[in-house]
Symmetry: C2
Subunit: 205 residues, 2 copies
């Protein structure tokens, strides 16, 4: 694909993302997308077979954010001065990533459309939350082998870690949207408190 | 209200609930509701000023389930043979309540319509999750005063308790719907594991 085509494709993705998030899947037409992207409808269809395909490509783009976080995991834990510091860095980063407004809106959109697109919602679940928890579990298993954590069931421990951190703020954001009212320092405090609970249960004293 | 009117009102609520859950707010008309309830459209409007009012009454009906659970709290803890047993009973009951398919569908519906009805979503959040966490916090404060838990911030402890229990299954159900694949024994096992983590952090040994 030459760079002009790539730019057009990106403009279409950006326009469609904006419209899907603002008006939902049903409320967005390929005409609206073409108009906002400043391209012809023909160009839209040349890049994306149909609206469903375009929607799916956007939603699964969130998987790239999850991948970025997963790639960080081993390094953050290896470089931290101790396990608690490493877990706090991870917890803060995890929460800050998940609470980004565009990712929150995308998450709400996937949940809203899960009845219409069950396969897409399943794919999102697999590539985003499940993928991150699997990567956390792998790290916890390594730490358990090294005697630094006491963990029988790494996946269960990973889900405890994840929801101690994300549970309250994510639930709040699902209902209240951008008005969830949690500031960045409050999110950091929640992340730190989650790590304390996690280490009380899984730490190796 | 005489009992015939009350029955009609209930029939309208039941029909509307079924239709909202199946087709969303936009996809449901007052005509559909009247037809499924077997009453005239005039009767629907005599009971509910408009579709929005009917939707709101249904959504806030979930608050009654939250109230039922909140009323259970002190008794379950008082009657249990020890604190761990009491918390396990609560945790299992909490999770089983939240995972009821109609409540899950309602939750997804409120999240889906939160942009259109922000006040309703805010009210739901206040009357359902926040109300339950507040009641848990009050119990944890009493237990801390009695030296049975070590809790500095009862609301934070309540949110940890809640999301250790609900986090994974609720997230899964938001994306996968009824296909979340968690059986009742698995839910009980998750509830028990959550209590173990909670007590490791907050128990008074």
């Amino acid at each position: 694909m030459d760079s002009r085509s790539a730019l057009k494709r990106q403009a279409i993705m950006d326009a469609a993302t904006k419209l899907f998030l603002a008006s939902g899947y049903q409320g967005t037409s390929m005409d609206d997308i073409a108009a906002l992207a400043g391209v012809s409808k023909q160009t839209v269809y040349k890049n994306f077979a149909d609206k469903q395909r375009l929607f799916s490509d956007i939603v699964l783009g969130a998987a790239a954010r999850a991948d970025d976080f997963v790639r960080l995991l081993p390094g953050v834990l290896a470089e931290a001065r101790d396990l608690e510091a490493g877990l706090r860095t991870l917890a803060r980063r995890y929460l800050a990533t998940v609470m980004q407004p565009p990712l929150l809106r995308l998450r709400r959109l996937v949940v809203s459309e899960a009845d219409r697109f069950p396969d897409l919602a399943r794919e999102y679940y697999k590539l985003v939350p499940e993928h991150v928890m699997g990567a956390l579990a792998a790290q916890f298993a390594v730490l358990a082998d090294a005697g630094r954590l006491r963990v029988d069931d790494p996946l269960l421990a990973a889900s405890h870690f994840a929801f101690l951190i994300l549970g309250l703020p994510l639930d709040k954001a699902m209902f209240l949207g951008a008005d969830h009212g949690l500031t960045a320092p409050e999110l950091d405090r929640l992340a730190d408190a989650a790590v304390s609970v996690f280490l009380a249960a899984y730490g190796n004293p």
